[in-house]
Symmetry: C3
Subunit: 269 residues, 3 copies
């Protein structure tokens, strides 16, 4: 498996997938830049009038609910339905689901009309998405958390999608197989949009392979590895969050199969 995923690092650069995003206004620039950094091409058109036309040109669609409004929601549904019809993979990031009833209802409505192929969120978002009480207590950095691995697997079966539950360990499940990835650094939580960027990376890989399980592992691990390498690049110097943000994108732009294979840290689930 590691060989095939490693090979995706070059595959995404040679295929140069067009990745259509309908995303939030906070991290939209970072999502576009991380797409370019890993080898894809971003298009961020989010008007409901053209979302369905634009997605026809794309190899993957990323739906990010960070700053959801009625009008972007309409664009999300139209683009995703068109993507479903054309078997273009839809990657969903249900940002903040669980926080307000507006988000909960919109996420529910989305899942009733659209089939995402990959869903990435933290434990609380994924729990809310499948109508469970979030059980984020007991999350222990660096150790496998049985509850979260099971959450990923349960959500994957329910949603008939590959599910990523992000955290100190990331759990990726397609319902049958569940993988834990332990890359990253706590400072990633001090820069806005590292979750959104991880989802964008997943979208890029999903645009370059039909194996969405591998695409999800590739995307989430690249963000974690880039975070580690960016942090390490400061050596003994203090790590400011502004500079870390920039070096994080640098490290994504430097990523290749050799670095990935050397740095990726699978954990037994």
């Amino acid at each position: 498996m590691k060989e095939e995923i490693a090979a995706l690092m070059e595959q995404v650069r040679s295929k140069n997938p067009l990745v259509h995003h309908i995303t939030n206004t906070v991290t939209i620039n970072d999502c576009a830049n991380v797409t370019l950094a890993i080898g894809g091409s971003p298009v961020m058109a989010d008007s409901s009038e053209e979302a369905a036309s634009m997605v026809k040109l794309a190899q993957a669609l990323v739906i990010n609910m960070g700053t959801l409004t009625e009008s972007t929601f309409t664009a999300m549904v139209r683009a995703s339905q068109e993507a479903n019809r054309r078997q273009i993979p839809v990657v969903l990031d249900p940002v903040g689901v669980g926080a307000t009833s507006f988000r909960n209802e919109k996420a529910k409505e989305f899942l009733q009309t659209v089939d995402p192929q990959i869903v990435r969120g933290n434990a609380s978002e994924i729990s809310s998405l499948i109508g469970e009480e979030a059980q984020t207590r007991g999350v222990d950095a660096g150790n496998v958390n049985e509850d979260l691995a099971l959450l990923a697997s349960r959500a994957a079966k329910l949603l008939k999608a590959v599910v990523v539950v992000s955290g100190p360990v990331d759990y990726i499940s397609d319902g049958n197989r569940t993988i834990g990835i332990q890359n990253g650094h706590p400072i990633l939580t001090k820069v806005t949009g590292t979750g959104c960027m991880a989802t964008s990376l997943i979208g890029n890989f999903a645009g370059a392979t039909n194996d969405y399980f591998y695409a999800a592992i590739a995307g989430i691990s690249v963000m974690g590895i880039a975070g580690e390498l960016a942090y390490r690049s400061f050596g003994e110097s203090p790590v400011g969050t502004g500079s870390f943000h920039i070096r994080l994108i640098d490290e994504v732009s430097f990523m290749n199969s050799r670095t990935w294979q050397k740095e990726v840290n699978f954990v037994e689930v």
Copy 2:
């Protein structure tokens, strides 16, 4: 007073306030990142459908009128009214008020329906907000400007809020006390959003203390000090505005009570 404000540097990190922003699309990423850098957690939901629900989870609300539209205005009013009901502090940044009648009317309408606890703007914006002719002539970098100190105090009384009039010297008044802070560097005006970020910082401190006068002083002085330290960090090298922008956020992420106390520069008013 200096001791109490210095202590806020650690207090905001330990309390980790959730700071809800309804803000502009230009500097929204910077506002989120500066919130993380000082120790808060940002949420930037700006849809009118959920703004009032989202603010219930927050410890402070930042309203920034930079790219005001009818629909974000509705979100601003709903969120602010809910914040007022729950005694969650509302921090207003009336960006560009005075420039168009649309902005003037919206700002007026806002103040008629909502009570902000803190307002930050430049002399022209604060003057316009209270219906005065802006008198920005005679502003002299590095010297106390009596007119501006009085403007802050007058606006504070009228608005029943803590008011910050930003400039080479920042004046902070609660109507009784007026403080001048002389930190910062002219290059701060060459990066977009340094005013917005200052307002976000104030929002973070207001989410960590009930003393909004101190919160305003803390927020505005942190931006000025971070600007000085960022500039100084270049030593003899030329200071490009792109790199300065990044180091500015670095310096906010490094801020602590010791640095603050060493660097803050109060001036007699």
Copy 3:
């Protein structure tokens, strides 16, 4: 001609034009920062209610269709009509025109109601804008492409505007004269918004001179030169796209007539 254009580097800093942008949400922050970096002042108000009032205060208007919606389109038309009435130059960036019928129709409608003074796009966008089949094959980095030079000239005549066709060589034409500029670096395509920023730079120069042909040459060449200098500044170190992005803005902020004259590379057309 080189002398006059070189002089614009200082002229834009001394005139400090207010450049009103109605632009996309992806690169809006970069457009504002690059405006400050070259010596202008950005205002990014995009609400249809105030766009026409805001533009009255400006020396140039930049219209960028990157994330076009019905509501921003209304703002674009209102602001541009007011700009036309007041002889404030309108600089159009028809991002993505050719990709969807929504964009094609909106661009057509825009050109039927408004006269832009300068239009910048890649070969595909400019072709679509004038209703031609895009002929982007045969584009050869580093060599003059007769087809593209003629495209610029033909578009300029049809649109009665200065037209910039961007690519490895940029072609600028007013219909009579056509100039080729060969500055830049391929890594510029790995950062989102370098096209948008070039358009913003053109807007800044158009706000500082009545010679829009020179303004267009100045803006597009500054972006190319800044790209080269930013790349060169890494020396032997690997060039990450995050850091390159920041240094690009640094180099714009360092630009002056001496650097420009030394680095600009005109090619015979």
